[in-house]
Symmetry: C2
Subunit: 354 residues, 2 copies
Amino acid sequence: MRDSHDIRLAVIPGDGIGSEVVAEGLKVLEVLGLKVETTTYALGAAHYHATGETLPDETLAELRGYDAILLGAVGHPSVPPGVLERELLLKLRFELDHYVNLRPVKLFPGVETPLGKARPEDIDMVVVREGTEGPYAGAGGVMRRGTSQEIATQESLNTAFGVERVVRYAFDKAMTRPRRKLTLVHKTNVLTYAGDLWARIVERVSAEYPEITTDYCHVDAASMFFVTDPQRFDVIVTDNLFGDILTDLGAAVAGGIGLAASGNVNPAAPGSASWAPSMFEPVHGSAPDIAGQEKADPTAAILSVAMMLDHLGLADESARIEQAVAVDLVERQVDWVSRTTREIGDDITARVAG
Amino acid sequence: MRDSHDIRLAVIPGDGIGSEVVAEGLKVLEVLGLKVETTTYALGAAHYHATGETLPDETLAELRGYDAILLGAVGHPSVPPGVLERELLLKLRFELDHYVNLRPVKLFPGVETPLGKARPEDIDMVVVREGTEGPYAGAGGVMRRGTSQEIATQESLNTAFGVERVVRYAFDKAMTRPRRKLTLVHKTNVLTYAGDLWARIVERVSAEYPEITTDYCHVDAASMFFVTDPQRFDVIVTDNLFGDILTDLGAAVAGGIGLAASGNVNPAAPGSASWAPSMFEPVHGSAPDIAGQEKADPTAAILSVAMMLDHLGLADESARIEQAVAVDLVERQVDWVSRTTREIGDDITARVAG
Ligand SMILES: CC(C)[C@H](C(=O)O)[C@@H](O)C(=O)O
Ligand SMILES: CC(C)[C@H](C(=O)O)[C@@H](O)C(=O)O
């Protein structure tokens, strides 16, 4: 896709452990022999306190010029809840039209899972979470705030346009996987308007993919099956909020939030009018309680770099990182020693290089 | 509370396995030596197909006259999604003002959990799920249905009145438990209007309960902690939809949906203007695939009867059932034999009687 394999990369380390884990992701990226140019953007809580800004318009415009964005984590207790999330993280997802929030849930061999009996072949799915609408639209309001007559509303906005594009992406993704199964997760029996839209679109598009087995699961039952029967799932397509919940749960059953990578993907062809850079980030948060202590696991950030390379058409380089991580994860169980963030990054980097 | 301990009970067996499990619940109830008068209401899919009715007004009016309602399960694939749920089950919850949906998540000794390392003392919480508002209000709409310009909305309605009463109930519940801990679960960083209302009310009411330790957890993180660190929770208070998801997940980690009981509680004092009968039901659904085969586990229905008795002020009788179930659950692991629905009911009944 990009001749000479150059990547122009914007890096947003963010808050808390974000900068620690991103540093290790970049370390791995460096030894692949690619020409990578990185520019760091100091957005997040510190920038907000210093300037009152979350994501200035000029910065957003600049970010559009990169091939991809690597983000650490955003959020700090010193900032009121929702400010950095809505005005920085979600704003990036919405403005750059990251309508696919891609979150693999995969148990690597050697990794311990809280599910006593699960084996790696039991947990291997991809959650395709819608990223630009639903309950995340920010619609809603409050009246008579602080009184006993207060009402607060929160509105989920769903469009045929928005649902169909992510559903199509999910069907295409299912075509690349051996099991070729797609499950819609929603709550059609209660959220009848939105659920009906999702269900009809999945049904209609499924006719174009006769090779794919399609089924449906309520979100409450799905969260149960993540624990009792994760084999049931191959590719899941779901709305923004259900995807948020299920992928944290997925990270837990697949060995922990320290390993879960994600891509906020704009799947448009580079050069087309709707293209914008995709953004890759670990699923975990900024974990201010352990920040600065080199205790965080950088694996999720490193796997996010692998997802980024795959998205950029560098499948071989992506696979090299995934393989190095897979070996490191097996080794961890065999010869367990406590390592710092940096040491884990160094070890994985050495495997990628060697 | 009721002199001569008479209970006038309305029974709604419902669909699928509903009638099978309810029969066992009633069998246990019969041997307690209480004077119980039961009236059965044949509501559900069959009634809907025969008459087009879900919950006629006169039936609803009649139901208001009972001391309590015991419900099996509602829902069948032959009825379009949402019809029985919204017009029967949720209508009962809303009309009878069941603003507390009480769902214990408790690992009984001897019960196998999918969490390899969890012990009974690790999983012992009560989820207080709001039952009459939030995303379940049914608000929303659709425009240009079936076209590429379709939009579908779904609105969560939250009131200070509705949130405060369930939050107060949850604080009172936490006072009855040794750990005295209450966790609000929400998604305040994204659902900022509703989340702000919930967070402010919890903070304000907490001042009246200095003995209670109060904390907050995002719903995505909470679903992770259900699997990795369930000890973290004692009493959870949360909105209708988050509670729906978390309690199915809770049932899964506590040994399965066959054991999870629930109460749709109207906590008003009997005789007061806002009183209406509370309704008790297993968390599981109607499972049409195994209906009529005596394969369903009636334990959740039996434990729902125990919750009902406790609600009606019959704490001793409630405890007798819980103890009989606890013994049966230990025995199951020791001498495992496959039993039918009826056999499990018979065994638990014999223990209660003996
Ligand atoms: C930080 C928060 C806004 C975000 C989300 O809810 O999407 C996070 O939980 C995630 O999953 O990336
Ligand atoms: C059947 C459905 C409407 C119901 C709900 O969502 O509340 C069920 O899942 C439950 O938890 O009791």
